[in-house]
């Protein structure tokens, strides 16, 4: 793990940006979460936003109230206290996230933008399966759906979760982004770029490989659905998402429930032990899925 030296830097006069490592890993994300959670608890005057991200974090502040150097000083202390985040426990939730893989909408989109892709002759799934050493796309889909993911960052646009799979480094999927970004991506598209799976919260431009479409929203500005009662955004950093491939009929059922306002995500409370995940991810993942689907 690259604990060498976090890079502390000013993002202009209103932000402090801390890059914990250049490379993504679960352990560095746990550190980012542990540090930002601790910072939130301290409720320091002058901080307006605390944004944990994959292998880094960012704090927005009012420099008239809190000098950025003063904050950095405190962040270094917190970093030392957190250390390698051994024993990091996260009070979180496990969520069933239904996704229809190889759906007609993202398929239509990816065909339209073939000229911007590394491999215009293959679909995004076929290409990604091949470069990640899978025999075929079904095998690749099984790997994506086989183990749960941690939400490691929210942003780009409101509500979009970046998800990193809870598997050992050798099993992590890695794909390039499109050669040139698309000008269109359907709402709720399930995509992949670098080492991260995402659900596009809204329609718009995008450069991630497209694999499928989520059945339910991650952003609900009208807050009509129960899961959005407290926030227009559903995902939270540290959530554990299990993407589950659903067929057209279940997709349609969920869509109808989203439309009539009765949809609720399947959610179970969970205390996540980082050490156990790092030591034996697969058996811990079975336990996580047992909690989610066991009853």
């Amino acid at each position: 793990m690259d604990l060498a030296s976090p890079r502390y830097s000013y993002g202009g006069d209103e932000y402090v940006f801390v890059e914990l490592a250049e490379a993504m890993s679960l352990s560095v994300n746990f550190r980012a979460m542990a540090i930002t959670n601790k910072l939130k608890e301290e409720d320091i005057e002058g901080i307006t936003d605390i944004c944990p991200s994959n292998a880094s974090y960012m704090v927005r502040l009012d420099p008239d109230t809190l000098h950025p150097d003063k904050l950095i000083e405190r962040l270094k202390e917190i970093d030392a206290e957190v250390g390698e985040a051994t024993g990091f426990e996260l009070r979180t939730r496990v969520v069933d996230v239904p996704v229809m893989m190889e759906d007609p909408w993202t398929h239509e989109t990816l065909m339209r933008f073939r000229d911007r892709h590394q491999d215009p002759e293959a679909t995004d799934l076929e290409y990604s399966a091949r470069i990640n050493g899978h025999e075929n796309k079904d095998d690749f889909i099984a790997a994506l759906m086989g183990s749960p993911w941690m939400v490691t960052m929210i942003g780009f646009v409101p509500g979009l979760p970046w998800c990193y799979q809870l598997v050992p480094p050798a099993e992590q999927v890695e794909v390039p982004k499109y050669v040139r970004p698309r000008t269109f991506t359907p709402k709720h598209a399930f995509g992949f770029g670098g080492g991260f799976a995402v659900v596009y919260s809204v329609q718009g431009a995008g450069g991630y490989q497209l694999y499928g479409i989520a059945a339910a929203p991650v952003l609900d500005v009208s807050q009509k659905l129960r899961d959005f009662k407290d926030s227009i955004v559903f995902p939270k950093p540290g959530d554990i998402f299990n993407f589950r491939n659903v067929a057209q009929d279940e997709f349609d059922e969920i869509t109808a429930k989203v439309e009539d306002g009765s949809f609720e995500y399947r959610i179970r409370d969970f205390i996540f032990h980082a050490d156990r995940s790092l030591a034996d991810p697969h058996s811990y993942n079975d336990e996580i899925k047992g909690v989610l689907y066991g009853d």
Partner: protein, 324 residues
Amino acid sequence: MAIKVRQPGLLTTVQDSGRIGDYALGMPPSGAMDSFSYAVGNYLVGNGDGAAGLETTYFGPELEFTEDAVIALTGAEIPPKINGEECPTWEALQIEAGDVLSFDYLKNGARSYLSVAGGVDVPEFLGSRATYTLIGLGGFEGRALAEGDEIGVGPSNNSSSHVGKKVDDKYIPTFGKEAELRVIIGLASYRLTEESMEEFLSVEWTVTPDADRIGYRYRGGELRFVEREQPAGAGSDPANVVDFGYPVGSIQVPGGVEPIVLLNDAVTGGGYATIGTVISVDRSRLAQTKTNDKTKFVSVSLEEALRARKENRERLAGIRESLG
């Protein structure tokens, strides 16, 4: 009291001081791009800080007032006219019911602000009336104004006492076709080669037609990234990093040839290396640049940025005081 939109102009949106505190959800601040001109507009008409107004870009709208109002126009030089007669800017003006406000062609700058006593009244979204143009939230139905819209105005007290108040010339900014923007180098600037960083800071960049509330793109140089084996999770392009947060004002260079400064409605994070951030004070100046204008980026320290911030605050306080 309402403002009827006869013609919307190129891009006229409801803006205020922005939506602060939801960046971690992926929600950018939006709000007035030239926060200086916007703030002064509110002082002129006697509004509290943060009252919403209209931001107009390049080509002004044509607006009809249904009742008497007190207004002020600040920011870019887009000569305003009331019922066809040219009227002053940076001054509180009396508007009579039925008056029509229109604009002549843009002379200098890019964005003009219409402040109206009582403030533009649209529903608040997450504590702000600002329009977030990228995905269409906040402001007036989440979008730029269109022909036929009627925009409400909030109640105001004693606004006619402000009529005739004007900003002293010494405080009024001028917007030439060349801008110097102060930048704090940092973030993932280690990804650029030393020569490229020098080039970034010495080249005279040209604002491209891709310049809006989301970001400004520039052309004029070619920058190179330090060669490395791409780290896990980052993706294969040398401009790619493991996706991280983008400060407002941060500069990224996808492809090496087109620096982008991310602005009020931008994406809040992503996977392109950022190399520095335009300081908050100079974003008001940036907002008054337009396509084909020239821009130089000048490296400053945090202390210089904080001093500029303090001077800006004092200038605003001076204006407020001078207006009584």
